[in-house]
Symmetry: C2
Subunit: 415 residues, 2 copies
């Protein structure tokens, strides 16, 4: 069972937006055993859309199209899909009512004709009602193949995938079982890991594939298995994981399917009834956000300070001026003082602090660009580590966040 995803919109091709929809759709289809053969991003251009539809029809059983369904003139997907199916657009009463409801309940400005015209859909299409937006999804069949068109607005597309598309695909197609298990590792590089587990990797059965996904201080090892015998697959994948874990030693922190490292740490803290606070300088709020982006953070995350300016480390955290003067603001001593003061201020059980120079220019310190100190404080104890994280600002910040998570994980899990 193969799918092709076609995302439509000039803004994707000129790089004005990153296409996150196809990643979401790919992941969702995978969970129901549908593989994505190809993702194709094309312009809002009739001939190109027609060509992409024909090619996708030749490649795949399920063709999922997003984008180009807005009310404005540059959106031509619906008209083009109708043309591909030799069909005409007709006004759909249920969609009209849905649009009127949305405008009555949520939209403060008058309903325009262009909005009402979003109820025009190809006569042969089954409507997939969009409860959170005015552009409906559409389901069209051609022989054994299914064409699904959805709006490109991510949360509208996601609601349609969950409520309409996935349930209907499950009913229509017999699908293999696909199992992904992804081992999260921190602290060792891709080729070192590959050398360590080479023998194990060579002996993996054919139906299990291994992929290395390295990024900024972490490497994810993804095992993918597929077949029709769900139980045999589950057992074999589990067996292989038990065989590889001892080889990975302490670099393994958990399975990505159970959440990223911030989630795993949060879960562990809640279990132990402990709390966390952060004091950030160079990471500028990113570390806090790594925890708060997940729901449930309030159960363990007391809060944090972003003492970006040197003076704010003194005024807000109460780090002593003398320590900063003696050791400079990017130093182990300042990182440790920040962590300790943060622990007191937020009355938390753990505090983590970052101070460094993310670049591109040097700030209130002579430290090399990329130098970051990370400190962890718990009751009666504080320690720090120094890192050299390169000279690309965004990467320095993201690596520092990953290193902070790695240190915190080691500290929490050993207790």
């Amino acid at each position: 069972m193969q799918a092709e995803i076609i995302t439509i919109g000039d803004e994707i091709l000129i790089g004005q937006i990153v296409d996150t929809n196809s990643a979401y759709i790919g992941k969702a289809l995978n969970t129901i055993g549908v593989s994505v053969y190809q993702i194709t991003s094309i312009q809002d251009d009739k001939q190109h859309i027609l060509k992409a539809l024909a090619e996708a029809e030749a490649n795949a059983d399920i063709i999922i199209i997003t984008g180009g369904l807005g009310p404005t003139k540059d959106d031509i997907t619906k008209h083009t899909v109708a043309e591909y199916f030799n069909d005409t657009l007709v006004r759909n009463t249920a969609v009209t009512e849905n649009i009127e409801r949305l405008w009555r309940d949520f939209v403060k400005v008058p309903l325009q004709q262009v909005n009402l015209d979003q109820a025009l859909i190809p006569s042969r299409a089954k409507v997939l009602m969009n409860m959170v937006g005015s552009a409906p999804g559409m389901w069209l069949e051609k022989g054994q193949k299914v064409f699904i068109s959805m709006p490109g607005v991510p949360f509208e597309m996601k609601a349609l995938m969950e409520q309409e598309v996935l349930p209907r695909l499950k009913l229509k197609f017999k699908r293999p079982y696909i199992l992904h298990k992804t081992l999260l590792t921190y602290g060792r590089g891709e080729s070192t890991i590959a050398a360590t587990i080479e023998t194990w990797e060579n002996e993996l059965p054919d139906f299990i594939k291994l992929a290395y996904l390295p990024s900024l201080g972490k490497v994810r090892l993804r095992l993918s298995a597929r077949g029709f015998d769900e139980q045999a697959i589950t057992v074999e994948v589990e067996k292989q994981i038990q065989a590889v874990l001892p080889l990975l030693e302490d670099i393994f922190v958990g399975f990505e399917e159970e959440g990223d490292l911030a989630v795993l740490i949060g879960r562990q803290l809640v279990k132990a009834n402990k709390t966390l606070a952060v004091a950030e300088s160079c990471t500028g709020g990113k570390l806090a956000e790594t925890f708060t982006e997940h729901s449930g953070a309030s159960a363990f995350f007391n809060g944090g300070v972003i003492t970006y300016a040197t003076q704010s480390k003194i005024d807000v955290l109460g780090v002593s001026k003398a320590i900063i003067k003696e050791h400079s603001v990017v130093s182990a001593q300042v990182a440790e003082a920040m962590a300790q003061k943060c622990l007191q201020l937020f009355k938390s059980d753990y505090a983590i602090a970052t101070t460094g120079n993310a670049g591109p220019t040097k700030g209130d310190s002579e430290a090399e660009i990329g130098t970051v100190y990370i400190a962890i404080a718990i009751k009666d104890k504080v320690f720090s580590e120094k890192f050299a994280l390169g000279n690309n600002r965004t990467r320095v910040v993201n690596k520092a966040v990953n290193k902070a998570l790695e240190l915190l994980q080691k500290e929490i899990f050993k207790n």
Copy 2:
């Protein structure tokens, strides 16, 4: 001059990573007048790669391939490109030396044979030296067409694009001039804007296209013009912008090409020699990060507090317990108190505070999910606004950040 981008990697198709490379490449090609015809994401599969290369060769003049060049067994791009060109792999001395240098200077673990084998490249390929990673870029020509293969690691790919690919493409191809100008607007919806500027839009000359890009409280209006007469294009686009600006009134905040709203605000603050601090509850660090992710933030951003737990609003910011008790933690009064206390604590000229309920469950307040209060404090003045931002956690946070920027922009620019 058309390009096709092929991104290779199972991790893209199963949605484990979002393909950000093609957006970057699309944007970069656009700046030199090369349009992207299509972006195609495919698996690490030989037959599929060969098919995609042949299709791209039929569609485009420039074929850019990323991914599948890692040292591990799942990476097969290089072998497949060699096969497509009926070529063999030969060991390249310069690349070998580069790998040895990287390992000597940066990598702490021993150099493996798999790493050295990254110096094997097709004999007909010109090497694009990767100074920051072990997989080189490759440039191959076939008639008038160019095939470029780069590693999928974003910062390696970006360095190669800047230092090698763009300069070489500029030399090889005569390209039209492409101009994008994107008007950032906050506070009004897509169809309302469309109705307001309909007459203007209908009279745009053929070589200028308009696109509406709505997201979470902002709408971007992108004008795209192309042609060989750079001056005529520049003049006409400027004329059209001057014609539409009065229609947009105060919803226009700036041009995206000059930076996002956080950058525009930062620039204005620096110009006025003013500083900013933030006090975040429901936005959890995201607002601070919106400012600190850009270099130069230290010139105006003093810092912030994330008072996520109610107690930390009292302990860290000094918000009075009585106010919280009387009005609840999600209230105008608490937002305003947070902003005022933040202003004092960070000795800043502006302070902005958020308190709300991002969901999915209610926290220390009975406020509806999606209710967010945003307050701004300046010397001798504080005010706040209440927003209902829906019930999707991530969207609530991102909308709140956008609303905060919108309020702050209005306050700063009117002074």
